[in-house]
C-alpha cells in the first residue's frame, strides 16, 4: 500500500486531468458530435425510407384491392347486362310469337269467313243451276213427252247423265 501511494504521482494526476479534459472537449466538439449527428441522421433516413417503402407497399395493395373490386363490379355489370338482354330477347321472341299467332288466327278466321262466303255463294249458285236445270229438264221432258214416249225416257236419262257430269 505504501509503495502504491508512493508511486502515485500528483503531478501526473494533474497533467492527466487537464489533458483528459482537453481531449474530451476536443473529441466531443470535433469528432463525436458530428459523427453521432450524422449517424442519427443516416439512421432516421433509413427508417424513413423503410417506412416509405412500407407505405408504398400498402398503397400498392390498396390499389390492387381497388382494381379487384372494380373488376368484380364490371363483371357483375356485364352479367346483369347479358341477363337483361337475354330476357329482352326472350320477351321479344314470345311477343312476336303471340302477335304472329294472333295475326295468323285473324287471317285464318278471315279465310274461313271468305271460304264460308264462297261456299254459300257456290251452294246458292248450285241451287240456282239445279233449279234452272230442273226447269230446263222439265221443259225438255215436257217437250219430248209431247212427241215420243221412248224418246222422252231417253232424254230424261241423258239429262240425268249431264247432271252427273256437272
Amino acid at each position: 500500500m505504501e509503495t502504491l501511494l508512493n508511486d502515485f504521482s500528483p503531478g501526473l494526476f494533474i497533467v492527466q486531468t487537464i489533458l483528459l479534459l482537453g481531449l474530451i472537449f476536443l473529441m466531443v466538439k470535433f469528432a463525436w458530435k458530428p459523427i453521432l449527428n450524422s449517424l442519427n441522421e443516416r439512421e432516421s433516413g433509413i427508417q424513413d425510407a423503410l417506412e416509405a417503402a412500407e407505405n408504398a407497399k400498402k398503397e400498392m395493395q390498396n390499389l390492387q384491392a381497388d382494381n379487384d373490386k372494380l373488376l368484380k363490379e364490371a363483371r357483375a355489370e356485364r352479367e346483369a347486362m347479358l341477363k337483361e338482354a337475354r330476357e329482352i330477347k326472350d320477351k321479344m321472341i314470345s311477343d312476336s310469337k303471340e302477335q304472329a299467332k294472333v295475326e295468323a288466327d285473324k287471317m285464318i278466321q278471315q279465310a274461313q269467313a271468305v271460304i264460308e262466303g264462297e261456299k254459300k255463294a257456290a251452294v246458292a249458285d248450285i241451287k240456282n243451276q239445279v233449279a234452272n236445270l230442273s226447269v230446263e229438264i222439265a221443259e225438255k221432258v215436257i217437250k219430248e213427252q209431247l212427241s215420243n214416249k221412248d224418246q222422252q225416257l231417253k232424254l230424261v236419262d241423258d239429262m240425268l247423265g249431264d247432271i252427273k257430269l256437272n
Binding site: 508511486d7 504521482s9 503531478g11 473529441m27 466531443v28 463525436w32 458530428p34 449517424l39
Partner: protein, 371 residues
C-alpha cells in the same frame, strides 16, 4: 485470405515478443549493467511498471564495452519552491538513484526511482537513511512530460486525427470509406451496447461523448502498452484515478432528485435504518464506485505487464536448469499465449471501465416510477 491474415498476426506477435525480449535483454538497470539475475529482473520489471522521465527504447553494449542507450529525452517541468523550472531529462544521464545532481534555477534536483527530489538548500548530494529514503530532499510537484504523458498526448493526437477525419467524411458521403469504415462500427458499438442500454434512450446522448472518449482512450493505451514501446499509461494509478474521478464527477453532478433521495433518505425502509443506509450509500457512491474503477483498471494492466515480462524473463532465470534453448522456447511459448490473452484484456478492461461508468451514470439519471 483468413489464413493469410492469421499468419500475419502471428508474425507480428512474434516480432513484438522478440522486440520485448531484446529490449529486456539489453536494457540497463543502473547505469552500465545488463539484466541477468533474478533480482535484476524483478527490479527491471518494477522499474518498467513505473512512469519514466525519458523515452527509452533499448540499450546495448558497444564494441568498446560502453553502454549505449537508444531513445530520446523528454522535458521535465517542475513546480518548485522557486517557481516553475524546466530542463530536459537527458541532464540526469539515465541515472535513477540520486547520484546525478542537476542544478537549475538556484535549486538542486536528483532523480530517485523515477521521482524527482528537490535537495534542501546547502546540501550537495542526497543522503539516505536505512530504508533508502532520502533524508535531505523532498518530492516536488512534477508536471513533466513523462513517458505516460507522452503516451497520453500521442494517443490523444491519434484519436483526434482518426475520429475527426471520420467526422469530416460524413460531410461528403453517407457511408465512410477506408479506415473510417473500421472506426464507425466501434463508435456504434459503444453507443448501442454501452451507452444506450445502461443510461436509457432519453438521456444517453449527453454522456456518449465522454464514454466514447474514455473507451477509445483506455483501449488504445492498453494496446500501446503491449507494444515494445513499453508504455504503461493505464497501469499508472494517477491516470486511472483521473479517469475514475471524471466518472464520479459526471454521475454526481448529473444525479437527479430520485438518485439523491435513494442515497440520503431511502424510501420504503424504517426511519431508524435510513441514516445508517445513507452512510453506506454515500460511501458507495463517492468512494467505493470510483475506487473500484480505478483499482480494477490499474491492477489488471499492471498485472498483465508484470506477467508478460516475467514470462519473458524465464529466458534468463531458468537458463541454468533448462539450458538456453529450453528456457527460450518455454518463455516464448508462455509469453506468446499470455500476450494473446492480454490483447483480449486490453479490450475487456476498456469495455468494463466504460460499461461501469455508463451504469453508474445510468443509475444517477434514471427516472423511477412512483408507485
Amino acid at each position: 485470405m483468413n489464413g493469410a491474415s492469421k499468419s500475419f498476426k502471428l508474425v507480428v506477435l512474434i516480432m513484438i515478443l522478440f522486440a520485448s525480449f531484446q529490449g529486456l535483454a539489453k536494457s540497463e538497470n543502473d547505469e552500465n549493467k545488463e539484466v541477468d539475475t533474478k533480482d535484476e529482473v524483478t527490479e527491471y520489471i518494477l522499474h518498467h511498471i513505473k512512469d519514466a522521465h525519458d523515452f527509452h527504447l533499448f540499450s546495448y553494449t558497444s564494441g568498446e564495452g560502453e553502454r549505449k542507450h537508444v531513445g530520446f529525452p523528454l522535458p521535465i517541468i517542475l513546480w518548485t519552491s522557486n517557481g516553475l523550472t524546466t530542463f530536459m531529462s537527458s541532464e540526469f544521464h539515465h541515472n535513477d538513484d540520486g547520484h546525478v545532481i542537476v542544478e537549475k534555477n538556484g535549486l538542486k534536483f536528483a532523480k530517485i526511482h523515477s521521482k524527482i527530489y528537490e535537495l534542501e538548500s546547502g546540501a550537495s548530494e542526497v543522503s539516505f537513511d536505512d530504508g533508502h529514503h532520502a533524508t535531505n530532499a523532498s518530492k516536488v510537484l512534477d508536471l513533466s512530460i513523462t513517458k505516460s504523458v507522452f503516451g497520453v498526448l500521442l494517443v490523444g493526437l491519434l484519436m483526434f486525427l482518426a475520429f475527426s477525419s471520420l467526422a469530416r467524411q460524413y460531410k461528403k458521403k453517407q457511408i465512410p470509406t477506408g479506415f473510417g469504415r473500421v472506426l464507425e462500427p466501434l463508435v456504434i458499438y459503444v453507443r448501442d451496447e454501452i451507452a444506450r442500454p445502461n443510461i436509457g434512450e432519453k438521456k444517453y446522448r449527453r454522456f456518449t461523448g465522454y464514454l466514447l472518449t474514455v473507451f477509445f482512450f483506455i483501449w488504445i493505451l492498453n494496446l500501446l502498452g503491449l507494444t515494445p514501446l513499453g508504455f504503461n499509461v493505464t497501469g499508472q494509478l494517477a491516470v486511472t484515478a483521473a479517469l475514475a474521478i471524471f466518472t464520479l464527477v459526471i454521475y454526481t453532478v448529473s444525479g437527479n432528485k430520485d438518485y439523491w433521495m435513494h442515497i440520503l433518505w431511502m424510501p420504503g425502509v424504517p426511519i431508524l435504518i435510513r441514516p445508517v443506509l445513507a452512510v453506506i450509500e454515500l460511501a458507495g457512491a463517492l468512494l467505493i464506485k470510483p475506487f473500484s474503477l480505478l483499482v480494477r483498471l490499474f491492477a489488471n494492466i499492471s498485472a498483465g505487464h508484470i506477467v508478460v515480462m516475467s514470462l519473458i524473463a524465464i529466458m534468463f532465470t531458468l537458463k541454468e536448469s533448462l539450458t538456453v534453448g529450453g528456457a527460450t522456447a518455454l518463455s516464448l511459448l508462455l509469453s506468446f499465449f499470455i500476450t494473446l490473452i492480454e490483447v483480449l484484456v486490453a479490450f475487456l478492461q476498456a469495455y468494463i471501465f466504460t460499461m461501469l461508468s455508463a451504469l453508474f451514470i445510468g443509475m444517477a439519471v434514471e427516472e423511477h416510477d412512483h408507485h
